[in-house]
Structure formats: structure tokens, C-alpha cells
Amino acid sequence: MVLENALPPFDVWIGPALLFFGVAVAMLAVLALLAGYLVAAFRYGPLGGGDVVFRTLRTAVFDLFSMSPRRIAALAWLAIQESLRRRVLVGFGVFVLILLFAGWFLDPQSTDPASLYLSFVLTATNFLVLLMALFLSAFSLPADIKNHTIYTIVTKPVRPGEIVLGRIVGFATIGTFLLAIMGVISYFFVVRVVDHTHEVEIASLEPIANDASGAVTGRTTLDANHRHQVTIDADGVGSTDTVQGHWHEVDAVKDGDETTYVIGPPRDLYTARVPAYPTSLRFKDRTGRGSDRGISVGYEWSYRSFIEGATLASATWTFHNITPERFPDGLPIELTVRVFRSHKGDIEQGILGSLVLKNPTTGRTSGITTFRAKDNQIDERFIKRKLTDPEGNPIDLFDDLVSDGQLEIELQCLDESQYFGVALPDIYIRARDASFSINFLKSYVGIWAQMLLVTSFGVMFSTFLSGAVAMMATAAALVLGFFSQFIHEVAVGIVEGGGPTEALMRTLTQRNQTTELEPSLTKSVIQAVDSVFMFFMEWVTSLLPDFRRFSDVDYLAYGFDIPPNVLGIQVVSAIGYVIALSAIGYFFLRTREVAR
């Protein structure tokens, strides 16, 4: 699985995140205070303005400590009732409709249908729930204010903060409810759609060459757009090969003279591997000199870097916390390498590679293990405890090669002028397999967090904007959040072509992104304007949530357990935004006459 921007461990993340949160809140607070004072001073004079600001702050502190969970719950219940009145369940109907016709739009020949269907249902759920949250949250408060129904609430002893928080909680609750139903339906939909079996084509069965045991091989029927090769031993027990990410068990059932073969349900179709990833990856170049990266073979995507075959070039991963208690029998490792051939070589054979285990402290190594690279596929290998060193002497994995829980695995390519490409997450120890169902459930946490964020933005904007404008503003926050990485890259100059003004100028003058602009006054002016834009863009994107980081689709689709730190970061981030947006919403609502 590709992990381009892997999230750090929760304990590493939380400190800097809290610090950033504190700094951002403090800066926003100072700016808000300044702006508030200027407005108040304009209306009531310098002293009067200060007094207003002070009173506002004092009231805010009082409101904060006077908030009643009971009143928030009551307001949340009102929001839920309002949502039901506004036929929020139509979204659920749309979702069912999408699932009913999903088969029309999905690739029937996909090499990994489970991954495709999982991605599809999660993405569909995600967008539907976000849309629903957007409409509910953005239109609710403005509609109440417009219809004066807000007076039925504000005339009660409730505080503005409770109104804001109550709506967020109410809409989030209804969203959670819908999400739960969609999750259950999605789960059964995917499991049912991808479930299949085959039959053995009896005519295809033939004895395996050079095998005296009586085993036979053949193939299955074509079902669900694929077929398998089967191997059945003399006892009638067998299995298929792995196609489209799964395999089947095969059993022979004898009925008199007749033998029929029964193929079981797909196995390993839904997995939730719990990987123990290495902590670092180092490279050596062809002369054996160390470097942070291998060489580039010219791919635009630089996720992996490459090592040259039949040279001293190597890639070495370092693992931590490798103990006999965790892995008493040995290490079940899974390796993915990308092969790049600079010449055709032997087409029938994969490129030869080697793995060597190394003690990072003593430098002692295991004997070399050679293998034929399975390009772009997960190669499952098992490293036993009992190994031999290069001289053939027996050694123990943990006693001789692991030092303070650390172990190094070195990869080399052995074929001349051929290359292996690897990245840090391309090797891991498959510590265990978690429950797929629970993993499926966990994948909804990210969607839930996104729904919470959109709801909070919608309610916050609706405290001072009309419904349509609040919806547009929330949608803008959502779009900016989804493209925040790109906007950030434009802002800091990683993306070529300059800022918005320069891009506009290039579009109008039909110059591509990489053409150098001639030095001129126009260029200076454009770049000066862009620097302001880019500062603003960077500032905005650093404050907005990166919505893509809340997606756990890839983990689930590629069969990996969603790590707790990812869920923790997503939930804590979302709560942080809810707090900040509720506070902003509170102050804006205080500026409205109805809430005073």
C-alpha cells in the first residue's frame, strides 16, 4: 500500500498539534479582539468600545461556564426534529438508489473488485453525508432567523453558545445515525456483491508433470470475470491460485465412483493486515556510499527510488521492537518491489534479488536469501528463527541478528543493469490480522469526522450569513480543504507557473507553466501581487482542515488495518475544529440582535 504522507504516531503528533492549535487560537483571538474593539470604538468611542469588548468577554466566560448539557441536548433534539422535518432521509434513499445501480457504473473486469467496491461505497457515503451536513447546517439557523422561529428559542433561558453547540450536536447526531445505516448496508452490499464461487472444469484436470504423488492440476470455470488454476493432491484436498486478491479451498467429494469437487468461498478477499513498519530506510549507491535516496529511473512519481543491480547498491530498512515475544516463530514479512528493466533480459524470469538480515550493532549478517522479484505485488516471505550465517554456521534470529529490538533488512538487485525500486512502507512485518468488520467500522470514523467538520463550518457560517451564502462558504471551505495540499504547493512555489495572477497572465498569453517570463515591470508587479495572494493562500490552507487526511478508504480497500494513531488524530483534529468553530460561531451570533 502506498503511504505518501503517512501520519506520525499520536504521541509524536499531539504535542506540536496542541501547540499549533494554541498559537492559531491565540492569534485569531487577538485579531478578533482587535477587530471587535475597532468596531466598538467606532460606534461607542474609545472608552465605550473598550467597555463593550470587556463586557463581551466577561459574558463569554460566564456563558462558557454556565453552559448546560441538558439545554444543549434539548437544542440538539430540536435540530434532529428539524432535520427529520426537512426530509433528511431522502439522502438515505439516494444512497440506496446509488447502490442499486452501482454495478452499471463499476468496472466489471477490475483486477481487484473488492477494493473497487469498497472504495466506491465509502466514497459515495462520504459525499452524500457531507452534502447532507452541508445543506442541513448552513440553512437551519438563517431559516429560523428569517421565520422568526428563533424567538421561540432565544426567549427561553438559553445561551448563544448552547444554540451553536446544540445545532452542531443535533446535526452531527442525525448524520451519525445515517452514517451507521449506510455503513451496515454498504457492508452487506460489498460482501454480497463480491462473494462468488467457481466449479472445477473436470476436463481440464491433468496430472502434474514429474509428480508421483498423484496430484492433479486444472482450472475453474469463469465466474465473476475471472478463473483460477487449481491444484488438488491425491487425497482430494487442494486450493486455487490467487487471482483478484483471493483464493479458494477445493475439496473432493466422492460419491461411489464419481468424484465431484467443491470450491469454497473466496479467502483473503477481505483482510485487515496489522503491519509493523520499519522506522527508516537507507540506501547505498553503486559504489557502496550511503545516501538518503536511491536513483531515479525517470518516473514522474518519485515515491520510490531505485537501486542498480549487480553493484554495491542496496536498500536497508531498520525495524524496531522486534522481540521473540511478538514473533516467537519468526518474522512474516511482506515485500513489494517495483522492477525497472533497462534491457529486456530473460522475459520468462523475474529479476533476481537478495535479502540479508543484519544486526545493526554487531554487523553480523545472515546468509543471503535470493528470490525472483514479483513486480508490484505483495511477496509474502517468512523468516525463520533458525538461520545460517554466510559461512553456513547456524544462528538464531533474535540472539544473533536483533540488537535492542532492532533489526536491519538489506535488499539488493542481483541482475546487471536492472533496477529495484522501493519506499519505506514497501516492507513490513505482518504482525497479525485484525477483524475486517471492525476495520470497516473504523473506516467510517474518518467520514464521521469530516461530517462533524462540515456541520461545524456550516453552523458557524450560518450565525452571520444568509443560508445560501453560508452554504457557499461551507462548500468553499470543503473544496479548499480537499485541495489544500495543491493550494499549499502553489502558495509555496512547488507547483510551477506562479501564483493566481501569473497563472491568469500565462493563460491569457498562452505560455506554459515552465516558460521563463522575461524580466520586466509587468513581471515584477505580477509577482508582487502574487506574493500577497500566496501569503493569504498559505495562511488559509494552514488553518483549514485537510479533508483528504480524514479518508481511510485506502487502508480498507488495500486490506490494511486502520492504525489507532490515524483514528486518534482524525478525531482529535475534528474536535479541535468543533471547539474553535463553536467559539467563533458564538461570537458571531452574539453580534446578532436576536441573540442578545
Binding site: L106, S110, L222, Y303, K344, I347, G350, N376
Partner: protein, 606 residues
């Protein structure tokens, strides 16, 4: 306004509406099984615009188009960007799914099917290291094109591309041996087709013939494809099939029959009417006929004209040159400076005398006959040159000769001996292998002596050089030197000319022993002697073929097989690749026949 006025107005409106319904009905009455429908329906049918006439109606496609609410263009752009991104990030599942969505959104946009089918078969396939994975994606591309034909029935471009990919990608890739084997074993692709008929060249030909049939019988446009190339694909499949049989060790009657079939098909191709840019048709096989006609007319013209007329006209034209031009003209070519060389282009043009100009100077009773002969010669030469242009697209002469040569027993035996020798060498039966090689080399000598044009075939020369390389290796293992002079020395000379090495594995400083064999000389001479008369040494077309590398067949430019280089990714989708360098008769208008194009070349500097 009174109630009465209102009532009258309503009646008037109703009448106008009723009156408008009549032309509306005439215009837009839908077509049914019994009626052609209104004018719009008829126009849709005539221009093949309605969905039902284009191909199958897919509810999913229609639904998704409607669901876009007019934002289809935006959605398509986003999806195309996603395809590029998925490809960059090697997300093949996502890429494949996105292609399906694009197809649903643009089911009748032929370029989408063509481009993405090619993308899958040629670009995505080579991203994988295992040839079985590669084969899967090649077939995926073919299936994508086949899916396109469901939405776009009778679309020659799509059907032709299916045939092209099956034939060329599977048959020409670096992994073609593996691909061809997998293709034969692919029950899911072929269905009930018997294994004996599962050769990729023959299956590809079926699609190419189907596309050809639609063009011939229904007059459907080829759109963007060179007609000569388009019609050459089926016959080239037969030639490639015969070659593939021999490469895989099938000789004897089977190979002979395959070559005979190819030769027969080539004959039919020669006699097919081909469109030209001059709004008339030509047949590739008619060139010799026009050459003969031109020759006869010229002989007649020369007979009718005074004997020294040409020299006289030439002298007059030389006299009309200015001093500077005359100086340049009389200088030997090697002594001219660059300006004078440039000037010679204009001078040659001034000195050239067309048949009509020549005949126009004939006086007396012969004048009318001379003008008639000149006109006939001009017309015949024009037809011949037009056919020549068309022939160049497919390297007609070379393949014509190959088709005649390959079914011959001598050629088949020569090829079989070399194949058997290689097999024996692989099996380490060295002495047997040497005997077979020597026998095979002798047989090739005979074939080459009888067909010197083969020395200009880079493919054949290279193929032979590989065998010679193996032979040298065999001799090395037997501790024997290479014979000097070597029996196929001319092949080594040709190979070095084309590839820089006499044979694979030859030492860089390997000196090819010189040998005075007539065959060698005759093969090398046409290029070396610019002043020689081609008619005396070889047919005129042979000399033109000799000047170019005979790689006449659509070459699999995009396919670099096992090697993934940055260049292969961005190759263009298959159009008519082989013809890219050749003049396209449909798009490259040449001047209409005129006197100035038909010249009696002035002699070069004395």
C-alpha cells in the same frame, strides 16, 4: 379588453398552435419500423447521428449523462485528469474504473476508445514486469476497443484498431512468443474458436477484413487513415503469419501454403482500386503497365522528333543562362561552393525540358503525332509516379518480391536448415549443428544470388546476422576459425552498414574480408554509383527501394517490450504509424499534372 376580445385572442392562439403543430410533426416525427419518420429523423439516420443507428443504447450511459445536468464536459475533464494521475501513481484499479466511467460519459467519441484502448495495450501493459500481467493489460485494451464497437457499430477505425492491436501488439512485442502462446490458450477471449485458428495474425486479420468490408460495401469513411495502408493491413497479417510460422519452427507444406495464401492475397491487393488525392483511383499492380506505355510513347516521340532536337533545345537554354549561372553549371560538382550548389537547383529547373515542350518544337507533318505521343507519355509517367507514391507507403516492391520468393522450396529449405541448426546448437549437438549451418548457409547463398534485393532488407540481414553470430559461436566452441572468405560475406557487409556490426558478438575491430563475388558487388553497387543507369542493373523500382531501409510494415513503434523507458509512454496512439514518414496521399496534395513535373533531366555538369 373585453371578454369577447380575450376569447377571440385565445382562439387565435389556439389556431396558431395547431397550425405550427403540422410543420413540427413533419419535421420531428420519430422514425418507426414502418416509417422513416420526419425530416429530422431522416437527417439523423442519413448522418448516423441518432444513438440507435450508432450502436447499442446503454441505460447506464444515458443515466450518467443525464445525471451530469449539463456538466458532462467538466466531469470528463476531471476524469481524464484522474486517469493521468492514477497512471502516474500506479493505481491500476482506479485507472481501469475511471476509463469505464469516461466511456459511459462519451460513448460515441471514437477518439476516446482509440486513445484509451491504445493506452491500456501499449502503455499500461509495459508497466508490469511479468509478461502474463502485460498480456492481461494488452487484452484489456483490446476488450476496451471491442466494448467501443458495441456503442459504435460499423466504425471502421475502431474495428481496424482492434485488428491492429491483436495482430501487431501481440505479434510484434518483445514478448511476442509468450503473447502468442497465451493468446492461443486464452479460452475466455476466443470462446468456441478452435485452437488451430487462434493465431493472432489471423484473428487480427478477421477484424481488419471486417473494417475493410464496411468501407467497401457500405462506403463508410476511413477517417484519418491512409487508404493504401488501411487496405494493406489484412494482407500484411497473412505475410506476418507465414513469417511467424517459420520463426516458431513450422516449415514444409504448412509454411508454403501460408506463403502462397499471402502471395495470392498480395495479388488481390495489387489489383484493388485505391483512391488518390487526384480524385481518381489507381491499382498498385498497374505501374509496370504505365511504365511500358510511357516507354512506347517516348520511343514514338523520339522517332517523330528530329534527332538533335533535344541537344539543340538544351544548348538554347544554356545560352539563356546568365554568366554566373553558366559558371556554376560548368563547374564540376565537387568544386562548387555552397551558393553555387544552391543555384544549381534553379539551373536544373531551367534546363529541364518536358515532353510537351519537346514535342512543341516538332514541326511539319509529325507535329500532331508528336504532341499526342508526348501527352500520352506525360499521362503514363504521371500515373506511374502516382502509383509509385502509393507503393512507397507499403514498400510494395519488396513485399511483392518476398511473396514470390518465400513459397519457393529453396527459400523454405534454407530457412528450415538454419532453424534446425539453431535447435541443434541449443541442444548442444555441435557437429550436427555445424553441418546444418553450413548446409543452410549454402542454401541462403543460392537464394541471395537469385534475389539480390534481399540484401537491402534490414530485417532479413539482421536475422541472418544473428544466425551467423550463432554459427561463429559454434565454431568458437569447436575451436575452429571462421571461414575466410565467408560464404555470406555480403550479408555481413550489409549488416554492418545497417547496424554498425557485422553480426551480433562480432569484435568491434572485426574486419570483413573482401571478396570479389558478383552477388556482393551487384548488391552494393546501385547506391555507390549515382551515375549508373538503374535500368541496366536492376528494375527502376529496385533502385528506389535500395535507397531506403525496407521496414515496410507497420512497425510497433510504441512497443519496447521488456524495457520501460520514458520514451515509450508518450508515444502517439496507433494511427498508421508506418506511414508517418511516407507521403500521405490523402493529405499531401502534390501539384496537378503539368509539363513542369515531367522532365527530361538535363545532364549534370560535363
Amino acid at each position: 379588453m373585453s371578454d369577447r376580445q380575450r376569447f377571440i385572442r385565445k382562439i387565435v392562439y389556439a389556431c396558431i398552435i395547431a397550425a405550427l403543430l403540422l410543420p413540427l410533426s413533419w419535421l420531428s416525427e420519430p422514425a418507426t419500423t414502418e416509417s422513416d419518420g420526419g425530416l429530422l429523423a431522416q437527417m439523423r439516420a442519413e448522418h448516423r447521428l441518432s444513438q440507435s443507428t450508432l450502436g447499442d443504447i446503454d441505460p447506464a450511459s444515458e443515466t450518467i449523462k443525464l445525471a451530469m445536468l449539463g456538466m458532462r464536459g467538466v466531469a470528463v475533464n476531471v476524469l481524464w485528469t484522474k486517469v493521468n494521475d492514477d497512471r502516474k501513481r500506479e493505481n491500476w484499479v482506479g485507472l481501469s474504473a475511471t476509463l469505464e466511467q469516461i466511456a459511459k460519459l462519451q460513448p460515441n467519441f471514437i477518439s476516446v476508445w482509440v486513445y484509451q484502448g491504445w493506452n491500456l495495450s501499449y502503455n499500461i501493459s509495459v508497466e508490469f514486469d511479468d509478461y502474463r500481467d502485460r498480456y492481461y493489460w494488452v487484452i484489456r485494451g483490446i476488450d476496451y476497443l471491442r466494448e467501443g464497437t458495441q456503442y459504435n457499430r460499423k466504425e471502421p477505425r475502431l474495428t481496424s484498431d482492434i485488428g491492429w492491436t491483436i495482430a501487431q501488439k501481440i505479434g510484434r512485442a518483445d514478448e511476442h512468443r509468450q503473447y502468442r502462446r497465451l493468446f492461443r490458450e486464452d479460452d475466455d477471449f476466443h470462446g468456441p474458436r478452435p485452437r488451430s485458428q487462434r493465431d493472432n495474425w489471423l484473428v487480427g486479420r478477421e477484424y481488419l477484413l471486417e473494417a475493410e468490408r464496411w468501407v467497401d460495401q457500405e462506403g463508410l469513411p476511413i477517417k484519418g487513415k491512409n487508404p493504401v495502408l488501411f487496405h494493406s493491413h489484412p494482407v500484411m497479417c497473412l505475410i506476418n503469419y507465414a513469417e511467424a510460422l517459420e520463426e516458431e519452427g513450422t516449415f514444409g507444406e504448412v509454411a508454403k501454403s501460408a506463403w502462397n495464401r499471402a502471395a495470392e492475397s498480395w495479388e488481390q491487393f495489387s489489383n484493388r482500386d485505391m483512391p488518390t488525392q487526384y480524385s481518381f483511383f489507381v491499382r498498385l499492380g498497374d505501374k509496370e503497365l504505365f511504365d511500358e506505355r510511357a516507354k512506347e510513347s517516348l520511343e514514338e516521340l523520339n522517332r517523330l522528333a528530329p534527332p538533335d532536337l533535344l541537344e539543340q533545345m538544351l544548348e538554347e537554354r544554356i545560352a539563356a543562362l546568365d554568366d554566373e549561372q553558366r559558371e556554376a553549371y560548368y563547374l564540376p560538382p565537387e568544386e562548387r561552393d555552397s551558393r553555387q550548389n544552391e543555384m544549381m537547383l534553379g539551373i536544373n529547373s531551367l534546363l529541364s525540358i518536358s515532353h510537351m515542350q519537346f514535342a512543341d518544337r516538332v514541326t511539319g507533318e509529325n507535329r500532331a503525332a508528336a504532341l499526342k505521343a508526348a501527352e500520352e507519355a506525360t499521362q503514363a509517367e504521371f500515373m506511374s509516379s502516382t502509383i509509385d507514391l502509393a507503393r512507397d507507403n507499403v514498400n510494395y516492391t519488396y513485399w511483392h518480391k518476398r511473396c514470390a520468393l518465400e513459397p519457393q522450396d529453396a527459400t523454405l529449405e534454407a530457412r528450415k536448415k538454419m532453424y534446425d541448426a539453431a535447435q541443434a546448437f541449443t541442444a548442444a549437438r555441435l557437429l550436427e549443428s555445424r553441418e546444418l549451418y553450413e548446409d543452410g548457409l549454402k542454401k541462403w547463398r543460392k537464394v541471395l544470388d537469385a534475389n539480390t534485393f534481399l540484401l537491402e532488407d534490414v530485417n532479413l540481414v539482421e536475422e541472418l546476422s544473428y544466425s551467423i553470430g550463432d554459427y561463429v559461436e559454434l565454431l568458437h566452441q569447436l575451436d575452429e576459425p571462421m571461414p575466410d572468405p565467408f560464404i555470406l560475406q555480403d550479408v555481413l557487409v550489409s549488416c554492418e552498414r545497417y547496424t554498425g556490426r557485422a553480426y551480433p558478438g562480432a569484435p568491434a575491430n572485426y574486419a570483413i574480408p573482401l571478396e570479389d563475388e558478383p552477388a556482393t558487388d551487384s548488391a552494393a553497387q546501385p547506391d555507390d554509383e549515382p551515375g549508373s543507369d538503374a535500368d541496366e542493373t536492376a528494375p527502376p523500382e529496385e533502385s528506389s527501394d535500395a535507397s531506403e531501409t525496407p521496414s515496410p510494415e507497420p512497425v510497433d513503434d510504441n512497443d519496447q517490450g521488456g524495457t520501460k523507458s520514458s520514451g515509450e509512454d508518450d508515444a502517439a496512439p496507433p494511427t498508421d504509424e508506418p506511414a508517418d514518414d511516407a507521403p500521405d496521399t490523402s493529405e499531401d496534395p502534390s501539384p496537378a499534372p503539368s509539363e513542369s513535373t515531367l522532365e527530361k533531366s538535363a545532364p549534370d555538369a560535363p
